[in-house]
């Protein structure tokens, strides 16, 4: 996989992960271009498209588009399920994940993705293994950090 993008229906980028060194300028251009292409597509259209020299696999979950760019030889369907598995992981971790969870906890979304995919290849497909790794990490910080944890006060959005 070359990169993964999460963006909203309004075209706001929520997460970007690049698996091949790319200049910032090019990244911005590619993101803009690809968002346009994907957002212009109608529901029920096929989840794959050719874009530049890459294949793009995307799927929409509620208000959020998950979009992966893969190379010519890569398998489209399994990439589609990779997206689904990532959504499941987010869902399990946050409990009924919504876009706001990803906005406010973007770092967690990154950590989960990192445990799941590394260097553009899937690292572990077992939901249990991935979540165990993340929860262990959470545990680590809670043990080490309890007094510093600020009280949560609701913020009116």
């Amino acid at each position: 996989m070359r990169f993964m993008l999460l963006f909203s229906r309004q075209g706001k980028l929520r997460l970007q992960k690049w698996y091949l060194a790319t200049a910032d300028k090019d990244k911005k251009k590619m993101v803009r271009e690809l968002m346009q292409v994907v957002l212009a597509r109608k529901p029920k259209m096929c989840s794959f498209l050719e874009w530049r020299d890459l294949k793009v696999v995307y799927k929409r979950y509620a208000s959020l588009y998950f979009c992966c760019a893969i190379e010519g030889q890569d398998n489209e369907l399994i990439t589609l399920e990779l997206i689904h598995r990532y959504v499941e992981l987010l869902d399990k971790y946050f409990g009924s994940v919504c876009e706001l969870d990803i906005i406010f906890n973007f770092e967690k979304a990154y950590f989960i993705l990192d445990e799941f995919v590394m260097g553009g290849e899937i690292q572990d497909t077992s939901k249990k293994s991935v979540l165990k790794a993340i929860e262990q990490a959470d545990l680590l910080q809670e043990v080490r950090n309890p007094p510093k944890r600020p009280l949560w006060t609701p913020i009116d959005l």
């Binding site: 698996y19 050719e50 369907l77």
Partner: protein, 965 residues
């Protein structure tokens, strides 16, 4: 508000994020961000040492700001500090910031590398994991230099935890992708292969990815992985759906791992060991069988995962291309998918069938689905699916169904999406040419293309129809008649006017006998379109008119009247005005004989690969961008020149005009038919004797023959790089297989070359000899690279002395570095002043891709194994061509060696064939190349096949080598 904030929430961060979300306008957002940036900056600069938590919070805010799309130019140091924190969360945020934001600031990289080193040595698996992730995320060369040696050790160490092993495997994969030269193969490789047997499926999954990537470049080293992969795969596909517990995904056992194993097997030919081969065939059959079983779940995830494995299995079957039974089953399976209700499956089936169509075993089976595919073209609602259908029709086309497929594509073109029209036009043009039994059908098809989608018919397409009509006299009359009829339409596309104008100018006489298309009617018809056309088309029509003067003397006065009109003679466009003036003059002064010679029918074009094919390749395949240059070259070297046959003589009469490139390019073809300079008498002939001909592009002392004062005083410019460049082609090709010799010679100047190449570097000495006894002044040779070429080829030259004495020789050194593979050749342009005239000529400098070959010796077995591995259709380029020289085996061998590859003896089962192998060295990569040349003495033909890992390289090498025999 999010329902859960797990772990260690940072309240300040949450507040900041909601502030940003509450901003009503972009300006407000920017204001809020700037305020925050100022705040963070002051905290970082302040005297008070920040505690780890604050540092983490601010770094995290910076990261958020960056992800919003703003530039961040500070905070890197604080992030690096976090790396050495003992608190996991601080370390983790530090690594995240580095992963997302690091640039190649070498100071910082050293510090980061230090922190990583510590974490790798910590033996704390979570810390090791973070460090490995960071290496994989950044993946820079500096990191590869620091850790590529270390990671294999972690990977194969007995006491490494599984999760760390997984990370290490993928981290190494990432480093290998960016810097393969820094990852040394060694003892560890065999132990990595054995990870395929690991208990932990997560480890196997990660290891399979790594092995696949490594095996693509080092197949020999990882050969043993084949049997292990087959047995692993076999265990998975035969397992019950619950056996693999958490690795079962919606009732499909380990789909990711299955796909990866099947992918790994595609790096190799079918297994040689019959037992392994049998087991693999069983696996593939099982997968195909499962596709027919009722689904275990109605969820789309179940069918997606199952079909992902199925499609990968089909890819492997196609890759092996050896089991007709499996191939046909695969084709039938895809046939079912063609009508599936899931758009995704229809899309993939069309895509996969495209590759299946190229296998001899399944081509016929694919063809049986033609009606379904045509139907898809008509009914699919998604343009990307229709695009696949077009691709498949193109792939399944052969002589038997070409007429039907071309008709359907033309049909579709009427309503096709704008985004894919140009490609369809190219495809139709190629198929029509390739499978034309009857050239009238071809002409009709192309004219239809212009009628339906004129705007999308590129120059290459209409140039090509002209080339073909000119080369085939059996179709010329038909073509003239057809264009004449097509031009009757009240509104016709400008491209049709171009084709019509050109063809009638050449062959209008073939239909002039019919009173309905008499010369005058033809002329009036064309001229009725004239005023609606753009300048280039009008220029072309003027050339048609002067050709008519020759073909139809009876309408000469009508044409002269048109040329003489103010709208022509005083046209604001200098090109049109010039043509009108010159053609009018030519029609008045020249005798019928001279007119007939100058305006003679075009000679046939040399046969060559269709330029539209090259264009399609460019559109479709990455890495073939340079094909564009081929098109340009082709365009300037023959199409433009020949599309303007009548204007040739004009260039001699003309003063240099800014649009000179439209003129005079035809000097080469005309030089043959021009009357010899000695037969002087008429003004025109005098002009010819002075004209800068291709044979003697430098025409010294030519000033006194021509009376016109403004020409005499102006410099005779013998420019037109294109014609000299074109002319030197033959000499250029001689240098493909040798390094020293004479590159160019005329009465004034001789250019000699000596060069040497090693790996991706080279040095070339250019010798310029003044053959006259007069000094050359302002002597300036310049090496010119096109933009494309500049990025692939680094050339450094030193200026030479601007004065070259009579009889003297000067030398120039060019240092060459090949950065990446390239197609075209640099141009050497030389300008100097000789006896008051300005000389300007250009030759191609023979720096060609094959110069960076290093020969590789290998055994027959290795050769054919590698040969099979490079069986992707994009990797192979083949050319069948007529021998241009006597077919002598010894000379052929010498040429292959001169070309740079190793000549492998006793490799090919047929001793008459030649095979070679070598590696192209560029700064960025090395590209393995295999070649095979099969002579056919009876037919006096050769078949040359090139296989390399890169399409553009195969293409270029094949072109270069084809010219040699």
């Amino acid at each position: 508000m999010p329902a859960v904030s797990k772990g260690d929430g940072m309240r300040g961060l949450a507040v900041f994020i909601s502030d940003i979300r509450n901003c009503k306008s972009k300006e407000a957002e920017i204001k809020r961000i700037n305020k925050e940036l100022a705040n963070i900056r002051s905290k970082f600069k302040g005297d008070k040492a920040l505690d780890g938590y604050s540092k983490k919070k601010y770094v995290c805010k910076l990261l958020f700001i960056f992800l919003l799309g703003h530039d961040i130019d500070f905070g890197h140091m604080e992030a690096v500090n976090l790396l050495s924190s003992n608190r996991y969360t601080e370390k983790q945020i530090g690594y995240l910031f580095i992963s997302v934001l690091v640039n190649s600031n070498s100071e910082l990289i050293r510090l980061i590398n230090n922190a990583i080193k510590n974490d790798l040595a910590s033996r704390n698996p979570t810390f090791m994991g973070l460090a490995l992730h960071c290496i994989a995320n950044v993946g820079s060369r500096e990191m590869a230099e620091a850790f590529a040696g270390e990671i294999p050790k972690i990977l194969v160490a007995g006491d490494t935890m599984d999760s760390v092993k997984q990370s290490a495997a993928l981290c190494l994969l990432r480093l290998y992708r960016t810097s393969p030269d820094l990852v040394p193969m060694g003892d560890w490789t065999s132990r990595v292969v054995h990870l395929l047997n690991d208990q932990h499926l997560g480890v196997v999954t990660a290891a399979t990815s790594l092995i696949t990537t490594l095996a693509q470049k080092n197949p020999e080293e990882f050969k043993t992985s084949v049997s292990l992969a087959v047995s692993r795969l076999s265990r998975i596909v035969t397992s019950a759906s619950t056996d693999l517990q958490d690795y079962t995904y919606y009732f499909v056992p380990a789909p990711w791992l299955s796909v990866k194993l099947l992918r790994l097997l595609q790096c190799y030919p079918p297994p040689e060991d019959p037992a392994v081969r049998g087991r693999l065939t069983e696996c593939l059959e099982t997968i195909l069988n499962k596709a027919q079983e009722p689904p275990k779940s109605k969820k789309v995830q179940h069918s997606n995962a199952k079909n992902a494995v199925l499609f990968e299995a089909i890819s492997l079957i196609i890759h092996h291309d050896s089991e007709p039974n499996l191939l046909v089953r695969a084709c039938n399976q895809l046939g079912q998918f063609l009508q599936h209700r899931e758009t995704n499956l229809r899309y993939l089936a069309l895509e996969s069938m495209c590759t299946l169509a190229s296998s001899e075993f399944s081509h016929e089976a694919v063809k049986t689905h033609i009606e379904t595919v045509i139907n898809a073209l008509k009914t699919e609602r998604d343009v990307s699916v229709r695009q696949r259908a077009v691709d498949l029709l193109y792939a399944m086309c052969d002589r038997s169904n070409a007429q039907q497929i071309v008709a359907e594509m033309l049909n579709y073109l009427e309503t096709a999406d704008y985004s894919i029209r140009e490609e369809i036009v190219l495809k139709v043009a190629i198929l029509a040419e390739k499978y034309a039994v009857d050239y009238t059908w071809y002409v009709d098809t192309i004219l239809n293309l212009i009628r339906i989608a004129g705007d999308y018919v590129s120059e290459e397409v209409w140039y090509r129809v002209i080339q073909i009509v000119i080369n085939r006299d059996d179709v010329q009359g038909y073509a003239a008649k057809t264009v004449f009829e097509a031009l009757q339409a009240p509104a016709c596309h400008e491209n049709l006017v171009k084709v019509g104008g050109y063809i009638l100018g050449e062959f209008g006489n073939l239909i002039a006998g019919d009173p309905r298309s008499s010369p005058l009617i033809q002329f009036n018809l064309l001229h009725s379109k004239f005023h609606l056309c753009s300048v280039p088309t009008r220029a072309l029509l003027l050339s048609t008119y002067i050709k008519f003067v020759n073909l139809f003397p009876e309408i000469k006065t009508t044409i002269q009247d048109v040329l003489r009109s103010d709208s022509q003679l005083k046209n604001a466009d200098v090109e049109l005005q010039q043509r009108a003036v010159e053609y009018l003059r030519l029609s008045t002064i020249a005798s019928t004989d001279i007119l007939a010679t100058v305006l003679e029918e075009m000679p046939p074009f040399p046969e060559r690969e269709s330029s539209i094919l090259a264009k399609l390749k460019k559109k479709k395949g990455p890495g073939t961008v340079t094909d564009l240059e081929e098109i340009k070259k082709e365009r300037s070297s023959d199409m433009n020149g020949s599309a303007e046959p009548a204007s040739v003589n004009a260039s001699a009469v003309s003063t240099p005009s800014p649009s000179a490139d439209l003129l005079g390019l035809g000097a080469a073809p005309l030089a043959n038919s021009a009357p010899p300079p000695s037969s002087s008498g008429s003004l025109l002939v005098d002009v010819f004797s002075d004209s800068p001909s291709a044979v003697a592009p430098l025409a010294p002392g030519s000033d006194d023959n021509f009376a016109s004062p403004d020409l005499a005083s102006s410099e005779v410019v013998s420019e037109e790089p294109a014609d000299t460049v074109h002319d030197a082609d033959e000499l250029f090709h001689k240098f493909v297989c040798k390094n020293n010799g004479v590159l160019f010679e005329n009465q004034l100047l001789q250019i000699g070359l000596k060069s040497e190449f090693r790996q991706n570097l080279g040095r070339m000495f250019i010798f310029y000899g003044n053959k006259t006894s007069t000094q050359f002044l302002n002597f300036t040779p310049t090496v010119i690279c096109s933009d494309d070429l500049q990025s692939s080829l680094n050339l450094q030259t030193k200026p030479v002395d601007p004065t070259v004495d009579g009889g003297a020789q000067v030398q120039q050194v060019v240092n060459i570095e090949c950065v990446s593979d390239f197609m075209e050749a640099p141009i050497l342009n030389i300008q100097f002043r000789y006896g008051g005239t300005f000389q300007n000529l250009s030759v191609k400098l023979p720096i060609t891709l094959n110069k960076f070959f290093q020969p590789t010796e290998m055994s027959s077995q290795d050769f054919f194994q590698r040969w099979k591995q490079l069986s992707n259709p994009k990797q192979e380029v083949q050319n069948i061509f007529k021998a241009k020289h006597p077919m002598d085996a010894e000379i052929t061998k010498a040429k292959i060696i001169g070309f740079g590859s190793a000549l492998l003896e006793e490799v090919d089962p047929n001793p008459a064939n030649f095979v070679g192998a070598g590696i192209i060295h560029t700064k960025t990569t090395q590209i393995g190349c295999l070649l095979r040349l099969e002579p056919n003495l009876q037919a006096q033909m050769y078949r040359l096949t090139l296989r390399t890992s890169k399409e553009a390289v195969s293409q270029r090498l094949c072109e270069l080598l084809s010219e040699q025999f």
